[in-house]
């Protein structure tokens, strides 16, 4: 490896590194504003100036490639003077409004001016003032504070794939704006707030809510989609004030989606705080004792096979397992968690997870989307596909038309017949697929929900195995789950029948065979209510609570510990950051209450036991936060029926997918803007 001398110390660096990166290897800190690891290099803030031997002037270390034999000095008088000079220029036009700026306490400019700033200002001219810009309901702007690092411009163009932010004007009059001050049409837009090194772009919903040092920080995971983005939950007392991304290069890198970040105001709205019982068609406040005894009476008066249970989209594994145990006590087998009758083959773990892993997308050389819109179903995963597309220009194809995905792709069909042709090698695409080395096929729920869902999955699997495209080192057959709970619940064997489409629960539901329906945080199940007695146990007064006869309040994901398995089969822990509201309890405690009242004192669960049991049940479990172990690939000869059908990519109401986001004011605003755009036609 080539060598470079930094402050008299010789170190080795990897080829292709910049001087700044080499300095980081040598543990030498370089101040910077415009440089960011995940973005392209701009070199316009000049804060990273260092001295290089044989160069008469200091150099911008972020933009200078490191070469063999360079001699860099970062602790000389010249460097100090250069940094002070740059800082003075940056502060010349920067307002001194730190006490009223939301970035205060986590501001790069504030921190660095402490070390490199001059305590006096020689600038006696008028300061520049820039009009505030509108950037949508999430981003608050105060453009006078902008130091023109262009991180936001680069993020929007490179990572988010929506080139809508730009720098207009020139010189002193340069201004950052969106095109004609429209809101940014991206699911990742709010990441520019984290990127902004000063307080020019701050969070609108969080404006003047708290100071960073007052907040309690809890490292947790997100449950808005199945990606399992790593997040940090910031709480002030028991209130969740904001959610920020936590770096995890294998999942979300440094970004999170807007829904992950801003649904948190929904945690305070529409909450169920005490048990409710429906009397005379209205809900009346009740107590736990009353609600549970009514529930126990109901259960005892109904035959086990007439009791059905449905688990919602954000339930953690501990709660789901205790629900399953509760149903075992009731001797009912009618458990379901799918919202639609999608095809699942839960025989083997590789049949229902995202096998290539999110980071693995970067190794692929061809991507085929089948009935999925990753931009809305899993925004962070879509960002990874875009990254791969931008870096390697890999070809991307789709069956079914998902609309704008922020990268180029070709629609090669919109019906199951096209799949049949591909698998029968009658299509041009078959050749491309066969000649690629690491193809990725992503099958979405819109495809699996079709009558030929089984055919699509099983035949693709056979095709890939037979052509050695699934082997020891590569498995690119991926299912894109939409809900945070899906993969975990499949591992817990919630479904009675392990194979096929299993219409059994849905048949009973639609034919009114259930006399009692127990909804565990389940709000997205579409059905026509008949004569069922419905118990809704959940956190929000949403679709499920509306139709319920008894409402039992429970905790949300930020208010309890719990395991979630993301779409890759990676088990991560969601941590308690706050307390359940009012009299709400964790789900497993509620089941204990019911079980106790049913007279099974010996069958109570404890949280530790539930967790221990989960880690034993889960197949191919390796370690927490790690990918599951790979199992041997085998063909199980499942015959599935082919139907000629159209593949429609179901359009997701992105900002309204679950009970928390539906309760969030911020998400409603975003949704309104998107709907108006659709009505009036977009500008881009």
């Amino acid at each position: 490896m080539p060598k470079i001398t930094i402050n008299g110390k010789e170190i080795e660096f990897e080829k292709g590194m910049t001087v700044l990166q080499a300095c980081e290897v040598a543990d030498v800190e370089i101040p910077r504003f415009c440089y960011h690891e995940k973005l392209s290099i701009a070199g316009n803030c000049r804060m990273c100036l260092v001295e290089m031997e044989k160069s008469p002037k200091p150099i911008a270390s972020c933009a200078m490639p490191a070469t063999e034999g360079m001699n860099i000095k970062t602790n000389t008088a010249l460097v100090e003077r250069a940094r002070k000079g740059v800082m003075e220029f940056l502060l010349a036009n920067h307002p001194l409004d730190c006490p009223v700026c939301d970035q205060g306490g986590e501001c790069d400019l504030q921190d660095q001016s402490l070390y490199y700033g001059v305590d006096k200002s020689r600038f006696i001219e008028n300061k520049r003032e820039v009009k505030e810009k509108y950037m949508g309901p999430l981003i608050k702007t105060q453009m006078t504070r902008c130091i023109h690092c262009t991180r936001c411009v680069r993020f929007a163009t490179e990572v988010a794939g929506v080139p809508e932010i730009g720098a207009i004007g020139r010189g002193e009059n340069m201004e950052i704006t969106t095109y004609l001050e429209k809101s940014m049409q991206s699911e990742l837009s709010a990441n520019v707030i984290d990127l902004c090194p000063v307080g020019a772009l701050t969070s609108k919903p969080y404006a003047f809510e708290a100071r960073p040092w007052e907040l309690k920080k809890t490292e947790s995971v997100d449950v808005m989609d199945a990606v399992g983005s790593n997040i940090r939950v910031d709480t002030y007392n028991w209130e969740v004030k904001r959610i920020l991304p936590r770096m995890n290069n294998e999942i979300n890198e440094e970004w999170i989606s807007d829904k992950t970040r801003y649904s948190c105001d929904g945690l305070l709205k529409q909450r169920l705080d005490v048990p409710y019982i429906k009397k005379n068609k209205t809900f009346q406040k009740s107590t736990w004792d009353e609600a549970i005894s009514l529930l126990v009476d109901k259960i005892q008066s109904i035959q086990p096979h007439e009791i059905g249970g449905h688990i919602g989209d954000m339930v953690n594994m501990e709660n789901a397992l205790s629900f399953k145990k509760f149903f075992e006590i009731l001797k009912s087998e009618n458990l379901e968690f799918r919202e639609k009758n999608i095809y699942v083959n839960s025989d083997e773990k590789m049949n229902y997870i995202f096998n290539s892993s999110i980071a693995g997308i970067e190794n692929s050389d061809l991507i085929l989307l089948v009935g999925t819109n990753p931009r809305h179903e899993a925004s962070m995963l879509n960002a990874r596909i875009r990254k791969t597309f931008v870096q390697k220009k890999i070809p991307i194809f789709s069956i079914g038309n998902p609309g704008d995905l922020t990268y180029e792709y070709r629609v090669i069909g919109n019906s199951t017949d096209d799949i049949k042709k591909i698998l029968g090698k009658e299509n041009d695409f078959s050749q491309k697929l066969l000649s690629s080395k690491k193809p990725i096929i992503i099958i979405g729920e819109s495809a699996l929900e079709l009558k030929s869902g089984g055919y699509i999955f099983e035949e693709f699997k056979k095709f890939l195995i037979n052509n050695n495209l699934i082997n020891e080192s590569w498995n690119g057959l991926n299912i894109l789950a939409q809900n945070a709970s899906t993969v975990g619940l499949l591992d817990l064997k919630i479904l009675k029948d392990q194979k096929g489409k299993d219409p059994f629960f849905f048949d009973k539901l639609n034919n009114g065979k259930f006399k009692l329906l127990y909804l565990l945080s389940s709000d997205n199940l579409e059905f026509q209510k008949k004569n069922e007695f419905i118990i809704y146990q959940g956190s929000h007064g949403d679709r499920g609570a509306e139709i319920a006869d008894i409402i039992l309040p429970s905790a949300t994901y930020t208010e309890q510990n719990g395991l979630y398995e993301n779409l890759e089969g990676r088990i991560q822990e969601c941590k308690k950051a706050s307390y359940p509201i009012g009299e709400a309890l964790e789900d497993w405690k509620i089941f204990n209450l019911i079980v106790k009242n049913l007279g099974y004192q010996d069958k109570l669960c404890t949280f530790e036991n539930l967790r221990k049991e989960i880690l034993q049940i889960v197949p191919n479990f390796s370690e927490l936060n790690e990918l599951p172990k790979r199992s041997k690939v085998k063909i199980d000869n499942i015959e599935s029926n082919f139907f000629s059908e159209k593949i429609f990519v179901r359009e997701l109401d992105y900002y309204y997918t679950n009970s928390i986001s539906r309760s969030s004011k911020t998400m409603s605003e975003c949704r309104k803007i998107r709907q108006n755009l659709k009505k009036n036609g977009t500008n881009n």
Binding site: T157, P163, E164, I165, G166, A167, I168, G169, R170, N173, M174, E175, T178, Y179, L180, N683, N684
Partner: protein
């Protein structure tokens, strides 16, 4: 000078004329297909020529979709360069050079005359006739300072008297001829100039 703002009253549509489309094809042929966005500056210029010397938003959008660029990129370029006008200008658009050589030779007097005869502020269309004026940086004709550019032509070697005559001719919509107002041919030495002790012919 502050950031250039777009005009409040924008036309809804913009389409290139038939001759301009021919010109665009010729411009595009200079660049490889994958770099066709390089043509954005000449296209903006054509749009400005076609639309009475200013670029409406519709034209920027049209060019962006023509070259498969994001709108904001075209917008950035149009706001960056001072020679693209984003607001309507007069039929006679006077650009007064006020960079050092012209200023030393009395450009400030020209500016004063513009204020008196055309409009009090820059970029304001005159009440009489259709003229507007603005200060600009060096137009590269320092050898015949002070000078102004009126639409496409240079009016050079000006003094107060000649400037006033020119401005009044513009207001009356009968513009005088461009060129030197001290009788020079292009930038050649003046008549009767003595070089090396000899009279120049």
């Amino acid at each position: 000078m502050s950031v250039k703002k777009v005009h409040d009253n924008q036309p809804k549509e913009f389409k290139f004329s038939v001759e301009n489309i021919k010109k665009i094809e010729q411009i595009l042929s200079r660049y490889p297909e994958k770099n066709k966005k390089s043509a954005v500056m000449p296209l903006l210029y054509l749009a400005q020529k076609q639309n009475d010397n200013w670029i409406p938003l519709a034209a920027m959008k049209h060019i962006a979709s023509y070259l498969a660029m994001p709108y904001i990129s075209v917008y950035e370029i149009a706001t960056f360069y001072s020679m693209y006008n984003l607001k309507p200008v007069g039929k006679h658009f006077i650009q007064v050079c006020t960079t050092t050589p012209c200023l030393l030779r009395g450009a400030d007097k020209i500016v004063k005359l513009c204020k008196e005869n055309i409009s009090l502020n820059e970029n304001e269309i005159s009440k009489k006739g259709s003229c507007s004026w603005m200060e600009v940086e060096c137009l590269g004709a320092c050898v015949s300072a002070p000078m102004v550019q009126i639409n496409d032509d240079y009016y050079e070697d000006l003094d107060e008297k000649s400037t006033k005559e020119i401005l009044i001719s513009l207001i009356n919509d009968k513009p005088l001829k461009p060129g030197s107002y001290r009788g020079r041919k292009n930038t050649a030495p003046e008549k009767n100039l003595i070089v090396n002790g000899e009279k120049n012919a």
